[in-house]
């Protein structure tokens, strides 16, 4: 009996100590992290692109980017000195590889992010997870989310980003530049009929892009239109449907165009694919994989694609591009 | 008997006030039927059957396969509700008892016990103490004594620390019986306990049952189809065929040649032994 009592007491004591410790610890306020860094900071509340209101310190000195497109945007804006951390996949420009890595875009290490004591963390709805944002909020770290769906929205998103981070001038400048590029392109393609294309994300199974994606919009700006009319973002298509629609061109996104040439040759030999006119006549375009990122580089990729699809609209620019077949250009 | 054994015998107070030759077990006109599916008419597996048994008696429910023996046993144990009639144990209807109380008064020894995870023999026997005390219980010193004693009574003390899946069929049977004894019941029910035993073990078991019934004042009801074991060891026989109870009485009265031949569909002869017990000889050759 006595043994039992002592054991009971010991066990209860351990549990009690534990519970007290955890209760005390859990009630420690998360604001400790903030106050330790800059005690006298001003804040402003802004609304991000998903409608959340975000409280950002002024001025912003330390930024963590959780998406390669946002990292690129920061560099394009010339604001990369604010960047203290980015993801493993932030590879453009090469200088971004040297920044402190916090993990993947969908599974970053929250500890690493918190360690960097950022003023704001940049996320995008198309890549990052809601759970990550919720965790950041719980830790009292501001998370600003972008969510561009069209080319114009990408442009204004970058501009807004610059303004949020305290350098509206840079944002305006970049915005003007991109707008000029866009208008120029638009003029060239004014009287040209858009090409019907199939944007191939993956060939087996055949996955293309939905009409609400920014890539679909980018195609429109490049004088093309995706034959796929789906409301899903990455719809899986049947080859038969493609044969029925008979797109004029296939579009691939890759950084290695000769690899694509080989892939297309391989595709031509696959059953069913040779029924596509575009495959039979090797009518395909390769655009840099910048088209996959909603960042300023997208605009150059759009122009590049337009050159491939409508060489005649660029004819007065260079002689070589007039005679070269679209498939062989880079 | 040592003091320990005495403490492990059934509480005589349960019978208090009752004359020792009043029946402890009274099976009154029980019957059972079930319908395989709602559209069909119910099939009677057991028709109205009655018998009584006293403390210290060994009753055998005898009959060929599908004669309703197991059904009768389940009804007596209180697990199955009879369609008609009732079973009284010291005046209490067995089916109406709380499972706990029932476990304190009635012990059932089933056939093969399928153990999912191996346990030791003494752990197994301790399970017999479960009906006593609260649902979540920790065994007391008394429980240990009673379990030890139960194993001793069946001659299986040496098996106490062995694993249940490593002992022979006969040894397992003894341990299962010990568990039933640990329940300190008034009524001990066994369903075909001799099925997987060799002849020596069968005789052993019946001897033990008779001894236990006498020493501990159990009422023992055994379901079996072993004619000669029943003839030798039972005080009372309930003869069933296809759900009908044909005869109830002492073996000498029930073992009539014509009756047995009809029930078991085989030619046989019945002899009276020197101890007043009948012995049956099966005759090979053409069947009646």
């Amino acid at each position: 009996m006595k043994n039992c009592a002592i054991n009971c007491l010991l066990r209860l004591a351990t549990v009690a100590v534990f519970l007290c410790a955890t209760a005390a610890v859990v009630s420690a306020r998360p604001e400790q992290a903030e106050s330790a860094s800059t005690p006298k900071e001003a804040f402003r509340t802004v609304s991000d692109e998903t409608g959340r209101s975000v409280r950002i310190p002024v001025p912003v000195r330390r930024v963590v980017s959780l998406a390669p497109s946002l990292t690129e945007s920061l560099y394009a804006l010339g604001m990369d000195e604010l960047l203290v951390g980015d993801t493993d996949y932030c590879d453009y420009p090469p200088a971004a590889m040297k920044k402190h890595k916090v993990g993947g875009a969908t599974n970053p290490s929250l500890e690493e992010i918190a360690l960097l004591k950022p003023d704001v963390v940049l996320v995008t709805k198309g890549l990052n997870r809601l759970e990550t944002v919720q965790e950041l909020e719980r830790l009292g770290i501001a998370a600003y989310a972008t969510d561009p769906h069209t080319v114009d929205e990408i442009r204004s998103s970058v501009r807004r980003l610059a303004e949020i981070l305290g350098n509206a001038a840079e944002g305006d400048a970049l915005d003007r530049e991109l707008r000029q590029q866009e208008t120029g392109l638009h003029q060239r393609l004014q009287d040209v009929a858009p090409r019907r294309v199939l944007f191939v994300v993956w060939s087996d199974p055949l996955i293309s892009i939905g009409r609400h994606t920014f890539i679909a919009d980018a195609l429109v700006h490049a004088g093309a239109v995706s034959v796929v009319e789906s409301s899903q973002d990455w719809p899986q298509m049947s080859l038969e449907e493609m044969v029925r629609l008979q797109p004029e061109y296939l579009v691939f996104a890759s950084s290695h165009s000769d690899a694509v040439s080989r892939d297309v040759e391989a595709l031509a030999r696959r059953p069913g694919w040779e029924q596509l006119e575009a495959v039979k006549h090797r009518r395909f375009a390769v655009v840099s994989d910048a088209v996959n990122r909603p960042a300023p580089r997208l605009f150059s990729a759009i122009e590049d694609l337009a050159r491939q699809l409508h060489p005649e609209a660029f004819a007065e620019k260079s002689e070589t591009s007039k005679s070269a077949a679209p498939a062989e250009k880079n | 008997m040592t003091a320990a054994t005495r403490s492990s015998s059934p509480r005589v107070t349960m019978d208090g006030g009752r004359a020792s030759n009043e029946p402890r077990l009274s099976v009154e006109q029980v019957s059972y039927a079930y319908a395989p599916n709602p559209q069909q008419a119910p099939i009677f597996t057991l028709e109205a059957t009655s018998f009584q048994a006293k403390a210290g008696e060994v009753v055998a429910i005898l009959g060929p396969n599908a004669s309703g023996k197991s059904t009768l046993l389940q009804i007596i144990s209180g697990a199955l509700q009879p369609l008609s009639g009732r079973v009284l144990l010291n005046g209490f209807v067995t089916h109406d008892l709380e499972p706990r109380t029932r476990g304190q008064r009635i012990a059932v020894v089933q056939q093969e016990s399928q153990l999912l995870f191996p346990s030791k023999a003494w752990e197994f026997v301790m399970q017999g103490r479960h009906p006593y005390g609260k649902s979540l219980r920790f065994e007391t010193g008394d429980d240990v004594l009673i379990a030890k004693n139960a194993l001793a009574q069946v001659g299986a003390e040496h098996l106490s620390d062995r694993w249940m899946d490593q002992i022979s069929g006969g040894e397992k049977q003894r341990v299962i019986l010990a568990r039933a004894l640990a329940q300190q019941p008034l009524l001990l029910l066994l369903d075909e306990p001799t099925l997987h035993l060799d002849i020596g073990a069968q005789v052993d078991l019946l001897e033990t049952l008779r001894r236990l019934a006498a020493e501990n004042r159990y009422t023992v009801v055994v379901v079996t189809h072993e004619l000669n074991l029943v003839g030798e060891y039972a005080d009372q026989v309930v003869l069933l065929q296809r759900g009908k109870c044909l005869r109830v009485g002492a073996p000498a009265n029930v073992y009539q040649r014509d009756l047995l031949e009809q029930v078991f569909q085989t030619r046989l002869t019945v002899e009276m032994g020197s101890n007043g017990r009948p012995r049956v000889n099966i005759l090979p050759g053409e069947q009646s």
């Binding site: 992290a33 969908t106 970053p108 690493e112 965790e135 | 706990r100 089933q110 399928q114 979540l136």
Partner: protein
């Protein structure tokens, strides 16, 4: 002949508790921030003495990030193990795990539906944070009820039909999940695939954490009251009934409580596999199959296993985080094969 006594039970629990404590302290040590246990202890003392403002920001970080996560691991690990032990006894099947009755599939469907609905409803932040776990728990509850009614035969719950019902519901729901995932907007799909693999990064908010704790203790206590009965059930249902066990009541209590534990665990952290299946077996090898000690031992064992797995998930591929379900699978599968072979010899 040494029966289990209360004092022996408590001693063993104390030892296991001490091991869990050490594992938790070690888990606190590993991660992106360098932690010295002395510093941590000093800060803990400061907090206890009410001087929370004096903690260094690094340790505050640890305490806000790692400690809640470790506690969640303890809770989920214990829940899954208790549920696994219970289902193995209830279904009389050593291969049963908490998900065998379709609970996790139900929770997954509920969570996916919640994720789909969330953008369309204007939810306040407090509700939004519990919306997905709530959906998960409701989905689990629906699955449990469906399986229960499928598993009834002649008005009673029968283990083999229950198991069959569970397998049917689980496969039906899995197909449904695949369907949902293929039509969901891609941003949510990403989140769902992590959830399905099981992860412990989503630390619950205060009120939800309390619900979890209370739910855990109530369900675990309810199951523990049937510990002796479960021992007898393993010998067979008829035998148990003749020994005074109210089989019907025990079945119901264990079914509801174990499903609740699983539902809570899955709603919070997705389907983390192998914990509920293997921890009971390992603990059985050490402590025997007496549920009065097996249930608490499994709880501690599961907590220890999951804290270790989660620590590995955080540190192996740093700075990325692996889903903890992948770690438990990689470690669990070989262990499972080893255990199977032991049983067969």
């Amino acid at each position: 002949m040494r029966p289990l006594t209360v004092s022996r039970l408590l001693t063993q629990c104390l030892i296991l508790g001490a091991i869990l404590f050490c594992v938790m302290v070690l888990a606190l040590k590993f991660g992106a921030v360098h932690v010295s246990l002395y510093g941590l202890g000093r800060d803990l003392l400061r907090v206890l003495m009410g001087k929370s403002t004096e903690i260094s920001s690094d340790y505050s970080l640890i305490l806000n990030l790692r400690l809640p996560r470790i506690f969640l691991s303890v809770l989920v690990g214990a829940s899954l193990s208790i549920a696994g032990t219970s289902f193995q006894a209830l279904l009389r099947n050593p291969l049963a795990d908490p998900y065998v009755l379709g609970v996790s599939s139900g929770a997954a469907v509920g969570a996916i539906l919640a994720l789909l609905l969330e953008p369309r409803l204007a939810l306040s932040p407090e509700i939004a944070s519990v919306f997905t776990p709530l959906g998960g728990f409701l989905g689990a509850a629906v699955a449990i009820t469906a399986v229960y009614f499928l598993g009834r035969r002649e008005g009673r719950v029968d283990s083999s039909t229950l198991l069959l019902g569970g397998v049917i519901i689980a496969s039906l729901l899995s197909a449904f999940i695949s369907l949902l995932l293929s039509v969901m907007p891609s941003s949510n799909v990403r989140g769902m695939s992590y959830w399905l693999m099981g992860e412990l990064t989503a630390v619950p908010s205060r009120p939800l954490a309390w619900v979890l704790r209370v739910g855990f203790f109530v369900a675990a206590a309810a199951i523990y009251t049937t510990a002796s009965d479960l021992n007898l059930l393993l010998s067979g249902e008829k035998e148990a009934m003749h020994l005074g066990v109210d089989v019907r009541r025990v079945r119901l209590v264990v079914y509801i409580a174990a499903s609740a534990l699983t539902g809570l665990a899955v709603a919070m952290s997705g389907s983390i596999g192998y914990i509920g299946l293997l921890v009971p077996h390992v603990m059985r090898m050490i402590f025997g199959s007496d549920h009065r000690i097996l249930l608490p031992a499994s709880a501690f064992g599961g907590a220890i296993a999951l804290v270790i797995a989660d620590t590995l998930a955080r540190t192996i591929a740093a700075p990325s985080e692996l889903p903890v379900g992948a770690i438990t699978a990689i470690a669990g599968a070989p262990l499972f094969i080893y255990l199977l072979r032991r049983r067969l010899t």
